[in-house]
Subunit: 232 residues, 2 copies
DNA sequence: CGCCGATTTGATCGTGGTCAACAATAGTGG
DNA sequence: CCACTATTGTTGACCACGATCAAATCGGCG
């Protein structure tokens, strides 16, 4: 009996490519690890020593300049893959935003295993291609959108990605109300803005009746069409 | 005798993973195509119908908003791979910046071939992982860097990526003088700036004696250290 | 209740965008 | 080869968005 058998992301993570014998083997080289909010798993610039699957929680990928400016370059959710297989340096830090559980592998072990299991590599390739598409869409936001458009786009993306599997979501696969896993500063770091601008734009959307902010971290979308209009 | 045998990127593109029998088979499903500057190969949003390798020239990957703002989300050079394998939509347009030669495959043909050749998929995975790293580094520029820092970063990246194989490059693998494959407007679209800001920042670097601009498209780096300082 | 960090709100400033005129270069035809 | 035009790039004046600096308010927790 392996950890993997009871893993909640067993059928959504790249592991879904493996049969039960293979999963048994993978189980032997991985181990679970729990991260507290704020705790980092990988640091920008260090050699790539481990990779992981996200089992539970939300983590940020971030880079920064020498003088302390930070940019969040990605956000990962359960079933997503973390880290840089096949050598090289980690190009960004990985830090838990919520309490998180991950399934970690020594990078060299994972590389060898992947090499012997093309199905696994194929899943990883598909995931990486999707992530690249998503990242490039985000570049349009960072390069060309106004503060208002950025916030609207961000809220729409959150409403789509924060759906818990098994949760009664809206028909179109998007949440109406949800808890952000981000502080205001972290939202600013995702959108390339300052905390003050984020705050102002959110209260503006609230005053316009497009969203409601029941608590610090909660958002309720009152007028999705108007929000989509604002997203540019 | 196949096209591939004489292909200048034979040993650098993902094809390098294949032996001569395999390359023969791949040769059967691909064909060469020449693109004029400004000509597009793929359009944002259309179903992914073809993929390709770049043989010669430089191409841009771009997205835009409904109201016409454009963002260049990537630039590809000889030996780079283009397109979205394994289904889905093309998330960005692909347009030649210079005259370009590409080796195109019907997407379904390529998918099937890749499925049977894990070595090829492995190369593609490595390439995609590197591209994702590079793209994420660019997000820091778009989200957090000033106009001056963006221009400096851009020039340094160009000096590294425009090295022609076989060309007598500087020892450290970067060019001192080079021809940009971009117009001022395209530089602006890469950096998330306006054409006027690009122009002003370039003349500022020139007046500061950090670079020289011998012609519209040419750049000569006079003081690389100062340029690296300016890149943030 | 009192403290501390997070967030909101307000006032002011500066970078980079916008609009407009001008200059330089490439392209075309006599 | 040069005149003429079209395109691309540069420069200037002004403006607005979002950053910065500062203060007030909220919310969680001992």
């Amino acid at each position: 009996m392996s950890y993997c058998d009871s893993c909640v992301v067993r059928n959504r993570a790249i592991c879904a490519a493996l049969d039960s014998n293979e999963i048994q083997a993978l189980n032997g080289i991985g181990r679970r690890r729990v991260l507290e909010p704020g705790q980092s798993l990988l640091w920008e610039g260090e050699d790539s020593v481990l990779v992981a699957n996200v089992i539970e929680g939300v983590l940020k990928l971030s880079t920064g300049t020498a003088d302390g400016r930070e940019q969040i370059v990605g956000v990962v959710y359960p079933s997503d893959f973390i880290g840089r297989p096949f050598g090289g340096q980690t190009s960004h830090s990985v830090t838990a935003l919520t309490e998180a559980t991950v399934c970690v592998f020594a990078r060299t072990d994972f590389d060898a295993f992947a090499h012997d299991h093309p199905q696994l590599e194929h899943k990883l390739l598909q995931r990486t291609l999707s992530e690249l598409d998503r990242t490039r869409r985000w570049m349009l936001l960072l390069g060309r959108k106004s503060a208002g458009e950025r916030i609207a786009t961000f809220l729409l993306e959150m409403s789509e990605r924060l759906i818990e599997p098994g949760c009664a979501a809206a028909d179109d696969g998007a949440q109406v109300e949800f808890e952000l896993p981000f502080s205001r500063q972290q939202i600013a770091d995702v959108l390339g803005l300052t905390i003050e601008t984020v705050s102002r734009q959110l209260t503006k959307l609230k005053h316009d009746g497009i969203i409601d902010l029941p608590s610090r971290r909660a958002v309720r979308i009152l007028d999705r069409l108007a929000l989509e209009d604002s997203a540019g």
